[in-house]
């Protein structure tokens, strides 16, 4: 019998983080596209702003990876 608990938990940790990041980035991205259309010089700032929510999915990934490697 395989223990599905850990993989499922890891999946949730990663998946929800990814979802959250996706929602946040979609909003920031479209606002960013709007800003760049009017002020192309804001490009650098927008790249950074879009990258900000990525912390969520990365921490999710770290937790998932640690669960898979340390708990199995």
């Amino acid at each position: 019998m395989v223990d599905w608990g850990i993989p499922i938990g890891a999946g949730i940790a990663f998946g929800l983080g990814a979802l959250g990041t996706g929602i946040a980035q979609s909003k920031i991205g479209s606002a960013g596209a709007g800003t760049i259309a009017e002020k192309p010089e804001a490009f650098g700032l927008m790249v950074v702003l879009v990258a900000i929510p990525e912390t969520m999915v990365i921490l999710g990934f770290v937790v998932a990876a640690m669960m898979m490697i340390m708990l199995v």
């Binding site: 909003k27 920031i28 479209s30 606002a31 960013g32 596209a33 709007g34 800003t35 259309a37 009017e38 002020k39």
Partner: protein, 353 residues
């Protein structure tokens, strides 16, 4: 979550557009210019560059500035409408813009009523709103008030409706305020009707519209006091749906019979700034000064929407008003230059926000 217009995108663009509005130092430079020609040259250094250059080919002087301003305003709102195509937000912007259409139609009717020349009427139009040049030119070509209304009907423009309905009364009384009131009322009722769903954005716009109703009512009340109109007759010239002033209060205002007395009743409302006007305004019954103050107030409130919810129609509302304010200010400066008005007086006329 309801899928709506992407306010994040649209509003980011509008904010970008707002950052290109002229700043007070630029207005100061314009004010210091000696004549209209040098104002045109200075506008060359602003975002009006392209439209000014295009306009100089055909026109010069004030006319050139007006044409450029109208084109620029049109470009701005077309752009905004493009972001919002097919969304309730489009409706909101259109309601906002029709305010200036109404103003222009009233100007044309007024001009026809007192038989001004076409050139004189054109000078009084505001370079804002949705009616395009073709419509305005063709309307101005018409020989009389009736013909203007008929042309509106012929071309299927909705404002023909209230005007047609009240034309008979106008032709009996020979009083243009009948038609002006009718078209105002039509605009407000139409707007209130379109906003009756009371969605979040509807309410943002309603706030603005109901304030405009108040302002229009105050103007009407004061005019009626000045013209000593009977209470019974006055009543029908009031528009329901105001934000702070209901009909009852407005009637009490009329009953006082004096401008000062009427304005006392505004003390508890946001419109109490009127009572700070110098006394001679009331004594000489200069309604135009009061109207200007009210207009300034509307513009200020309109632009202040910009600070509202960044993911709502508020940003666009604020922008349209700010743009209107900008073109109004440029027009004021340009006109004052032809009339030899001191720089200090021009500054007083302008509305900075």
């Amino acid at each position: 979550m309801v899928v709506r217009v992407e306010f994040d995108y649209a509003n980011a663009r509008i904010k970008g557009m707002k950052s290109r509005l002229l700043t007070p130092p630029v207005f100061e430079t314009l004010i210091l210019k000696p004549d209209v020609e040098s104002i045109i040259a200075e506008l060359e250094n602003t975002p009006y560059k392209e439209e000014i250059e295009k306009a100089t080919v055909q026109f010069s002087g004030i006319k050139c500035i007006e044409v450029a301003l109208r084109k620029d305003f049109t470009n701005a709102f077309r752009k905004i409408l493009r972001f919002m195509e097919g969304d309730p937000a489009e409706k909101h912007i259109k309601i906002l813009l029709s305010r200036w259409d109404i103003q222009n139609i009233k100007t044309i009717l007024r001009g026809k009523n007192i038989h001004l020349t076409s050139a004189e009427i054109v000078e009084c139009l505001v370079p804002a709103g949705q009616l395009d040049d073709t419509t305005l030119i063709e309307l101005i070509k018409q020989p009389d008030v009736k013909a203007v209304i008929d042309l509106l009907a012929t071309w299927g423009i909705e404002y023909a409706k209230p005007l047609t309905r009240n034309f008979k009364e106008y032709s009996e009384k020979r009083d243009l305020s009948v038609l002006e009131y009718a078209i105002d009322k039509f605009y407000f009722e139409n707007a209130l009707d379109k906003l009756s769903e009371k969605s979040y954005d509807d309410r943002i716009l309603l706030d603005m519209i109901t304030m405009e109703i108040d302002v229009t009512n105050i103007k009407n009340v004061l005019t009626m006091i000045r013209d000593r109109i009977d209470i019974e007759e006055a009543e029908i010239f009031l528009i329901t749906g105001g934000q702070r002033l209901n009909i009852e209060r407005l009637i009490t205002m009329i009953r006082t019979g004096t401008l000062e007395g009427a304005i006392k009743f505004l003390d508890t409302t946001p419109y109490n700034f009127l009572s700070e006007l110098p006394a001679h305004v009331f004594r000489t019954e200069k309604i135009s000064v009061i109207e200007k103050e009210l207009e300034k107030y509307l513009i200020k409130r309109g632009i202040s929407r910009f600070l509202g919810d960044p993911l709502s129609i508020a940003v666009a509302v604020g922008y349209v008003w700010a743009k209107y304010n900008e073109i109004t200010n440029i027009r004021i400066i340009a006109r004052c230059k032809t009339a030899d008005i001191t720089e200090k007086e021009i500054r007083e006329e302008l509305i900075y926000v």
